[in-house]
Symmetry: C2
Subunit: 344 residues, 2 copies
Amino acid sequence: MDPNHSDYIYHLAVDVGGSLTKLVCFTKNEDHPDDGSQQQRDGPGRQMTAVKATGGGAHKYADLFKERLGISLEKEDEMDCLVVGANFLLKVVRQEAFTYMDGQKKFVKIEHSDLYPYLLVNIGSGVGMYKVDGDGKFERVSGTSIGGGTFWGLGKLLTKCKSFDDLLELSYRGNNRVIDMLVGDIYGGMDYSKIGLSSTTIASSFGKVISDNKDLEDYKPEDIARSLLRMISNNIGQISYLNALRFGLKRIFFAGFFIRNHPSTMDTLSVAVNFWSKGEAKAMFLQHEGFLGAMGAFMSSDKHGVQELLVKQAEQPNPVSKTQVPLDGEFNADQSIECIFYEA
Amino acid sequence: MDPNHSDYIYHLAVDVGGSLTKLVCFTKNEDHPDDGSQQQRDGPGRQMTAVKATGGGAHKYADLFKERLGISLEKEDEMDCLVVGANFLLKVVRQEAFTYMDGQKKFVKIEHSDLYPYLLVNIGSGVGMYKVDGDGKFERVSGTSIGGGTFWGLGKLLTKCKSFDDLLELSYRGNNRVIDMLVGDIYGGMDYSKIGLSSTTIASSFGKVISDNKDLEDYKPEDIARSLLRMISNNIGQISYLNALRFGLKRIFFAGFFIRNHPSTMDTLSVAVNFWSKGEAKAMFLQHEGFLGAMGAFMSSDKHGVQELLVKQAEQPNPVSKTQVPLDGEFNADQSIECIFYEA
């Protein structure tokens, strides 16, 4: 968040996860005349004393917040917040859900009556999978420990990359065929057509390393990053599909900070869901993918009437994306919800 | 196989996989009087000209075998062989299938009438999953690229271990809590009891590495190996369970050379299946886990009457296990099927 901005923060919620803190706040621009309302003001001139908080860190750091900042964290359940956030965004934001295939992002309008049930896959450090049947009606049905933390953790050990974003950027330039054992490597360049496995299907992630007479330094970091990304995205796509199948869910929404709108992550997830479901299930993504939990915590004490708000997205320290995503309905131009994240 | 042994090899089959070659042969001991039969003899005094072969390498190396050794590989389909091998072993060998929990290996007698349907999970370099409904009746229903090749490939890059077995051995002494982000790490030592996640559940494999200010050299190789093994075994267990659930299968047989009777691999697979199925499904293992394909290829031209044979297992170069596994029925003491594997 720009520290020099002239917005008042009226209302704030945080989602303190395993590796990132996500923040959603309601701001009102100084330059606009005050509307004279009696809303509680947490901006300059008034000390903030309580903040809605979710994620594991809301428990872990509650004492620290109180002690150091004098702020009480009002804990909201992580899963409740996630689902409330997802439902809110899917219903209220006009361009929220989209498909991604072959480099094409396509927004999808989903009728409220046709939204449920769906599978929500939240990819943070780990991965949680939720079957959502309606407002407040959901169940955690599965998950996997192979998530964003695995990508970044293994990537850090293998490539010496200094940040998650560098690693993602690196993967974009890599070639996983140097690292992975493909069906064609086992079958001498041939497909195993009997079971629909083409020669380029990955038979064994990192499997080519076995027979190479090479050390870690002999591999290009970008190839390793690419292989890691393919392995993890494909696995998440597969487990998601198997859970969607189990409950007869046609739509899978992928969210969480692992994705970061990264083209090859979204492509791999989409291809995996398409491959395993033989085209029956659809991978979808959310414009505000990382902020579901924080948004849900924010909503848990909404005093502003969300239909009137504007959602915009910003990144720290220098906001790179200020695209305003219009909500269905009316809003005041001086008011907005900002979504910001901080690294641990 | 001991090159100095005095057994004649009468019949041979190979399974050439992504990283290992498995061999099954029918031998007859020299010291015993010949039974005078007119069986074709591929031992000394007779040139072997054709060998039953399966696995990707049967295609990849067919020309090489012909050119260098003058041997034609008679290719048998990999999946057919796997399933024929599994069905044969499960029906004929008295102590073949066992469960493994808390360090306890328990052989299970399965009635022929109660064998089908089952899920066969073959963990080689990659992982194949097969729904088996009877003799010759099966379907490949799933698989994952995160298999033995991933364990060994990533392990080689991360630990500088020189062999798969060294890596397994190393993992036995490691502590994955140093590497993995546990639920308790996120929740400040607390469980997330609402969804049945204890504080020791792995939330993110390799996730703790994110926030550590350490390089690869600062971690103990054994801890990394342990974390890798847990990650991969747990993932295979989970995907297997989801597929068993999908088809209503109560028994999952894990086979393939990844396992190698390794206690913590079997334990993790068992715990994963038990955890995800809430005790409904059962993980089982096979005494001749690595030889299903080779055994199936061998069976495809069996001339010896399998009920009369003895199965024993040996490893190269110095056989460590000579345990004879008695078959149901009669056999001659001088005849045996040997199971041997060679590294790529």
